[in-house]
Amino acid sequence: MQILDYAKEEQKKQEDQKLWDKVINYFRKRSLWMLHYCTGCGAMELPPILTSRWDIERFGVGPMATPRQADILLLTGYVSTNTMKRVIRTYEQMPEPKWVLAFGSCTVNGGMYWDSYNTVNNVGEYIPIDITIAGCMPRPEAILDSMIELMDMIQRGEAKAFQKYKENYSYYKENQDRLFKRTKPVLESSALRYIHDENGGEQ
């Protein structure tokens, strides 16, 4: 019942979109700047979609060098526990509205590294993801398709994962903390701990 109510509420919200929101959403969807956090092999699929064959700039999508200016965060491939800290930090630096696009099966369930000790299975538990693209690796066509789907979602006002992150922050924070407890910085491993402590004692 709760789920149905939630769906109805969402439907109502979309219908209630004001004209101003519709106009702004049009400009937002036509100018998406992406920050690619390239962790795995998915990065290889980005040059083809940027260059002459699948030129994605015709939709106004382009690469950006800093998280301050980016609209989309691309997570391409598996994320390890240490990388996750940087991903979260990058994501939280981006100003709103922001969206996350996750590539390939590694971000969904760990992919071929699902039983590895340091790979994150299901990135969606730690940061909110708007669209996940299946495949290992997804073809450039799939990436283009997901971009167009994201544009449609933005126009309809459905792509609101960043609000989900704010509203359910305790859930995400708990998951993140549990993950980071598993990892220890390399410098604090047993052989180096003594020297490190003597020099500054900073953890």
């Binding site: 702004i24 700039e57 015709r58 106004g60 060098a65 100003p95």
Partner: protein, 293 residues
């Protein structure tokens, strides 16, 4: 009436500059054998940026962004568009040269206030580049002032009226080449784009600008394109019979710069300043000597 005039000039130049940026992106895409974004892409980018949330670091950052935009719009009001200016003045080259620096200094102030080391590096590079291009450009302008016995842009533009063969580009070709090279540096196009350098210093001055601040930066860049190409058109291409003619000539000048931008790699900053002080400066000095004697 005066305020209306100023608003008209400001919005007109911003719109023209943004459209030029879009056309430049389209041309770049065609050089890469891509289809490219629509020509109004930059306008959509700016509207999106102005609607985003943004991060400010302190008051100086807000002030600096406004100062840079206001400085360049102030410059634009003195650039005659086919004989019309917002403010009538008969020594406006001096005013233009003086005010143009304010735009860049405001940008430097804003991004240096953000405290990001990449931004500081980018700004120091941009100001070093300014040192490189202003000396040859002023030398060319000195030649123009001597040639026309006037320091008014409108008089220089009007003196070339009549036929194409009256244009200064035929009277002082060496000066034109020097001005064209310095224009490339002024607009931050390759080979003089060491201050932007996304691969090395993450967009340099723009690294900490987000949302509305980056939108203001876009507007500043649009006005600076308008001012710089407008100056070249007034100095070397005879101004323009009407505003449309003027804008088309500006577009020609801008597209030449964009095509050069696409075929060159990047100079390091010290190489760029060295190049600017040897070749365009040499051409400008030779031109000045030819005019003087």
């Amino acid at each position: 009436m005066v305020i209306l005039n100023i608003l008209l000039y400001a919005f007109g130049s911003i719109l023209v500059g943004l459209t030029f940026m879009g056309i430049g992106r389209k041309v770049t895409a065609r050089v890469h054998l891509r289809y490219g974004p629509p020509f109004y892409q930059s306008i959509m980018d700016v509207i999106k940026l102005l609607s985003r949330k943004s991060i400010t670091h302190n008051f100086v950052m807000d002030l600096g962004m406004i100062m840079s935009l206001a400085g360049l719009i102030g410059t634009m009001l003195y650039v005659p568009i086919s004989g019309h200016t917002a403010f009538i003045s008969n020594t406006n080259i001096v005013v233009i040269m003086y005010l143009m620096a304010i735009g860049y200094l405001g940008m430097a102030m804003a991004v240096a206030a953000s405290g990001n080391p990449n931004a500081a590096i980018g700004v120091s590079r941009a100001l070093t580049m300014m040192l490189g291009y202003e000396v040859p450009f002023f030398t060319v302008i000195l030649g123009l002032i001597i040639f026309n016995n006037s320091s008014s842009v409108a008089v220089i533009a009007a003196s070339q009226a009549g036929s194409i063969w009256n244009w200064n580009i035929w009277h002082m070709p060496l000066g034109y080449i020097a001005a064209e090279i310095t224009l490339q540096a002024m607009m931050g196009e390759k080979p003089f784009d060491a201050m932007i350098a996304p691969a090395e210093i993450a967009s340099g001055p723009m690294v900490e600008l987000s949302g509305k601040y980056l939108g203001l930066g876009f507007l500043t860049h649009a006005v600076s394109i308008f001012v710089e190409t407008g100056l070249i058109v007034n100095f070397f291409f005879g101004g323009g019979a009407n505003p449309i003619d003027f804008v088309l000539k500006q577009l020609g000048v801008y597209l030449v710069a964009v095509i050069f931008d696409n075929i060159f790699p990047r100079y390091k900053i010290e190489q760029a300043v060295k190049f600017l002080w040897i070749f365009p400066m040499g051409l400008a000095v030779v031109q000045l000597l030819l005019l003087a004697f």
